[in-house]
């Protein structure tokens, strides 16, 4: 495991990182937790000439509350998200999700920014970030913009982040009290990534009908997505009888991935079953 030679640069601010990225252009690559990039470099499948390490940019590594939102810096590790009191109290699903990413070492190094920017089709976070309506802030030399999770994942491992840009933070509105949620994952047995991962969140109105439903699914298709057909089928209905029928739409319109671990039709079936189960758990936890 001997990577090709490269130059290492450490940025101390977002501004400096952006300048470095501009300078090295196509030869430059951001290094965050390194848990996706470095294995590839060791296999020499990736051979960036310049690594811009953003690991030292302090302000990207904090979780804060501002303007009624919880804001998680791009460099916050999976472990920090899992353990944060604020996240636990206000975005429980996100900490539940962070807790099942990889193993302890991975969670201690991997970052939310890296995971989202990388957009592995089997990554866990995207499902939860979709279900929580996260807003992703991207900074470039020309300024910054905010992209809704729903618009962030464009295609297989393609996101709204352009080369030369830095994903600086993800903002979430706190989950309504009384909401029920869960993140349910079927692990690929070797890698531990999601063969299928379903993030489900629902709130009930006074009559006990669903007045907000969010289902984010990862692992099934080329990109993570919100299962809008499932959401629509459940909205305004009482969960108990409607969930099974709604969950049957989990794989609608998706061309599922297929590999040695699971064929396309098994993945689709897993998505339906896990969606139903995730919604059942969410419903059981929700308070009218």
């Amino acid at each position: 495991m001997f990577p090709a030679s490269f130059e290492y640069h450490r940025a101390s601010s977002v501004k400096e990182a952006l300048a470095m990225l501009q300078q090295y252009g196509e030869d430059g690559k951001i290094l965050a937790g390194g848990h996706s990039l470095i294995p590839m470099m060791k296999l020499r499948l990736a051979q960036p000439a310049h690594l811009v390490d953003i690991g030292g940019i302090r302000q990207l590594a904090s979780i804060r509350e501002e303007g009624g939102k919880v804001i998680i810096g791009g460099l916050v590790t999976h472990h920090a998200v899992e353990r944060s009191d604020v996240v636990r109290a206000k975005l429980g699903m996100l900490s539940e999700c962070a807790a099942v990413i990889g193993d302890t070492q991975v969670r201690n190094r991997g970052t939310i920014g890296g995971s989202l920017a990388h957009a592995d089709p089997a990554a866990d976070y995207p499902a939860a970030v979709l279900a929580l309506d996260g807003e992703i802030k991207i900074e470039g030399t020309g300024g910054s913009r905010v992209v809704k999770a729903d618009d962030f994942f464009i295609d297989l491992m393609t996101t709204a982040v352009q080369p030369g840009e830095v994903l600086t933070e993800v903002a979430f509105a706190p989950v309504a009290s009384g909401a029920g949620f869960t993140y349910l994952k079927h692990r690929q047995p070797a890698s531990g990534f999601a063969m299928v991962g379903v993030a489900a969140l629902l709130t009930l109105d006074k009559k006990g009908n669903c007045d907000r439903v969010r289902v984010g699914i990862t692992g099934l298709g080329a990109k993570p997505f919100r299962a809008k057909a499932v959401e629509a089928a459940l909205l305004g209905k009482a969960p108990a009888p409607a969930i099974a029928a709604a969950a049957a739409h989990a794989a609608d319109g998706i061309d599922p991935l297929s590999d040695i671990h699971a064929s396309a039709d098994f993945r689709a079936e897993l998505a339906r079953v896990y969606t139903r189960r995730a919604l059942e758990t969410a419903a059981a936890r929700a308070k009218a």
């Binding site: 070797a190 671990h261 098994f266």
Partner: protein, 780 residues
């Protein structure tokens, strides 16, 4: 003075562990020598291709590169990679491919440079012009006419066809109430030691001395083979197996790279290191299993099995490694398991395919055999609607029958199979679990109870059982030396790499000599220090190495007693060793300190008639038979019918490895063994695509189980000493692996019984289970 306790039978922690868990053990990659160079091997991306040309010029020109060689450069310089097991077709196996590549990962060229980074850069500059050929991956297809032929000189892909006929089988088939047929697959597995392979070689030209550090299970056998490959005298080669981070059979071998670094060091005059990367380990270190068995079983209505007939197709891969074609034989011979099945016949077709060679992997032939025997018992139970435990009882070799000759021609040493089954069922609460299963089924939950009673071969073994071409037999050696300060050095011919003989042997010696365990140092794995030995494999370390040690201990004791007898003026046979003294057996308070005896032997100021100075003894022990450990494993699982996921509810293992010297170590071996056996049942599989590309080349795709994928083990034991050796031990290195695989499969099949499903091939991945349920539901 404090009384020194006894150590054998106590729960002693492994004495090798402190250095391992504090990072102070020394592995091959820790060997750093002045001027050392790094070698990296370029590997074939093709499963089957003609090599038109290899351009090394750009690589050779790179700064820091010392040398770059391809297979043609080594013709006549390094002998072929050896296979000592007999086969009709033993292909020439060059250390680097010559003219043709036959599997993905085959070495094509080697670059040597001042650092592995530069060597790797050099590989990127090598241009190989390949002409891809059609590949054959499926061993049954490889036998069809028109299949691509790997080794043209043989005309086809057959390695060997071996047949053990028996007319009594046909007779039994005629009389059977039912002939049950099945096709069982033992899938291909990768051994995955935590430490991949690696070798460092240093040639000292002035002394004409070659030192090779290798992560191997067999330092002496490796020395013999290297001598042959390199044409250097064995007395000029020193092989050191430093800390070895697991082997599981894949390091019971001689590999191209070991000879390669030695040759490079001899020609370059500098030390050369090669360390295997994980991807190379998946592609280029031997795999295990990969057998297809077509079975016919003659059974009577009462569950009695009267005959078993089998046809095996065994995938050997592209070349034959050290013992490749010898492994399947064990599967055939052991196929009748713990059962008094009177008639057995089988034949084995071994086949070349465009894959890595198979060879020994934890259990080596016996897991396959046990899997077959236990599937047979379950199929018979299912066929006649009998309880699988009863079918096993019906067919067990009774305890009175030992030593018990088997239909496979072996003689099992000792056993009480029913005792072990009963104990396991009692621990699990068999009747209660069956009732729970019944109740669960009514709620649409699918619980299954799996049973596997296994017997296996350990302590291999009488030398005649080993391949004729193997240098060295089935014996083992040990030297014991009482040093002048009363501390003991043991030199054992086995080469432990996780088995813990530094602990067990110290326990034995401490007890036998009445000294503290800390007074004993067990040395192994260095051919310049240790007398010729055979190595560690087939659960033989304690079973064969132990008795060898006991012989040496006996010789040493005899000599010390003689000396003490002259000093104490009592006959030697009345003396014992206790509490660092030699004492009178009838009255241990009459004693002299051990140190005085040792001083007399080394100082020798007063010559002792008939006793030479010094205090050491060496022995070579040739076992008269193998040992046959056995046991019963019971698993309770629940299958999620919607996802096919198998969840463990209970796992009970009752193992009988004869006398237990070190309970903690036995449990450790059983734990690891069960994990690997469960891995075969549920998770692991080496996958090549149709064109021979290896699709499980990293740990992200090859599913080695993590702790959360395994059950909590409930372990117990029965103790049936082996009459074969003085220690009464049987061996326990592989038992867990052998019992657990069929046990888990049995449990899953039992859970799926309501669907009418009788068999699914391993690994029982969720998708396969789900598909079987879905198909059954659609049919029903």
């Amino acid at each position: 003075m404090a009384v020194i306790p006894k150590f054998v039978g106590e729960r002693i922690k492994r004495r090798e562990d402190p250095r391992l868990i504090t990072g102070t053990g020394m592995y091959v990659d820790d060997v750093r020598l002045p001027g050392m160079l790094s070698a990296v091997v370029l590997r074939s991306p093709h499963a089957h291709a003609k090599i038109n040309s290899i351009d090394l010029s750009k690589a050779r020109a790179l700064k820091g590169v010392v040398c770059v060689l391809s297979g043609d450069d080594l013709r006549d310089k390094v002998g072929p990679v050896p296979c000592v097991a007999p086969a009709d077709h033993v292909p020439y196996h060059p250390v680097l491919a010559q003219g043709k590549v036959r599997f993905v990962g085959e070495g094509v060229a080697v670059a040597v440079a001042s650092s592995p980074y530069i060597a790797q850069d050099a590989l990127d500059l090598i241009d190989v012009d390949y002409d891809p050929l059609d590949a054959v991956v499926d061993p049954e297809k490889a036998l069809e006419p028109g299949a691509p032929v790997l080794h043209e000189e043989f005309g086809n892909n057959s390695v060997t066809f071996a047949s053990v006929p028996n007319p009594a089988v046909d007779e039994a088939m005629r009389k059977a109430d039912k002939i049950i047929k099945a096709r069982l697959v033992n899938q291909r597995l990768a051994p995955i030691p935590m430490e991949p392979r690696g070798a460092v070689a240093r040639w000292d030209g002035g002394y004409k001395q070659l030192t090779v550090w290798s992560s191997t299970q067999i330092p002496h056998l490796l020395r013999s083979q290297l001598a042959e490959m390199l044409k250097v005298g064995e007395n000029r080669i020193r092989v050191i197996a430093p800390e070895v981070g697991g082997g599981f059979g894949c390091k019971l071998n001689v590999y191209a790279e070991e000879a390669l670094v030695a040759h490079l060091s001899m020609t370059l005059g500098k030390p050369v290191k090669w360390i295997e990367r994980r991807r190379e380990n998946f592609a280029g270190t031997t795999h295990g299993r990969d057998q297809i068995t077509y079975l016919e079983v003659a059974a009577l209505k009462d569950g009695t099995v009267t005959a078993v007939k089998a046809h095996f197709v065994c995938d050997m891969g592209a070349y034959l490694q050290l013992l490749t074609p010898a492994i399947p034989g064990f599967s055939g011979l052991m196929m009748t398991g713990c059962y008094k099945i009177p008639a057995l016949s089988f034949d084995q077709q071994m086949v070349f395919t465009n894959k890595m060679s198979t060879d020994a992997y934890r259990g080596a032939g016996r897991p396959e055999a046990c899997y077959i025997a236990e599937r047979v018992m379950d199929m018979v139970a299912a066929e006649f609607g009998l309880d699988p435990a009863d079918v096993r009882r019906k067919n067990f070799i009774p305890k009175e029958a030992f030593p018990a000759p088997t239909a496979g021609g072996l003689v099992y040493d000792s056993g009480d199979y029913e005792l072990s089954l009963n104990k396991a069922l009692e621990i699990v609460g068999y009747q209660k679990v069956r009732a729970e299963q019944e109740a669960a089924r009514k709620q649409g939950r699918y619980i299954g109870i799996g049973i596997a009673s296994y017997v296996e071969i350990c302590g291999i073994g009488p030398s005649a059982l080993l391949p004729p071409k193997l240098k060295g037999g089935g014996w083992e050696s040990a030297t014991i030396r009482m040093e002048p300060d009363c501390k003991v050095t043991v030199l054992t011919g086995v080469s432990p790499h996780g088995q813990g003989q530094e602990t067990t042997f110290a326990q034995i010696v401490a007890d036998e000599l009445g000294i503290d365990i800390d007074d004993v140092n067990v040395v192994h794995g260095d051919t310049a220090v240790v007398q010729y030995g055979i190595g560690t494999f087939g659960s033989r370390g304690t079973t064969v190495g132990g008795p060898a040690l006991m012989m040496s201990v006996g010789k040493l004791q005899e000599k010390m007693k003689k000396i003490a007898s002259t000093m104490m003026e009592v006959p030697p046979d009345q003396l014992i060793f206790t509490n660092r003294t030699v004492a009178l057996a009838s009255d241990p308070s009459k004693s002299i300190p051990l140190q005085q005896v040792v001083d007399a032997a080394y100082g020798y100021k007063q010559p002792i008639p008939g006793v030479e100075p010094g205090l050491d003894a060496t022995s070579f022990y040739e076992p008269q038979n193998c040992t046959f450990p056995f046991g019963t494993h019971v698993a309770v699982v629940e299958v999620d019918p919607e996802t096919g996921v198998v969840k463990f509810l209970r796992y009970v293992a009752v193992d009988d490895c004869g006398r237990i010297l070190s309970p903690l170590l036995v449990e450790g071996q059983v734990h690891g063994g069960i994990a690997q056996g469960i891995a075969q049942a549920l998770y692991e599989e080496v996958v090549y695509d149709e064109s021979g590309q290896l699709l499980t080349a990293t740990l992200m795709d090859y599913a080695v189980p993590k702790a959360h994928m395994l059950p909590r083990y409930e372990l117990s034991a029965t103790v049936t000493p082996s009459p074969v050796n003085v220690l009464g031990v049987k061996g326990v290195g592989e038992a867990g692996t052998i019992g657990s695989t069929p046990c888990v499969v049995s449990a899953v099949m039992d859970a799926l019984k309501p669907f009418g499903i009788r068999h699914i091939d391993m690994p029982l991945k969720p998708e396969k289970v789900w598909r079987a349920i879905r198909d059954a539901q659609q049919k029903g």
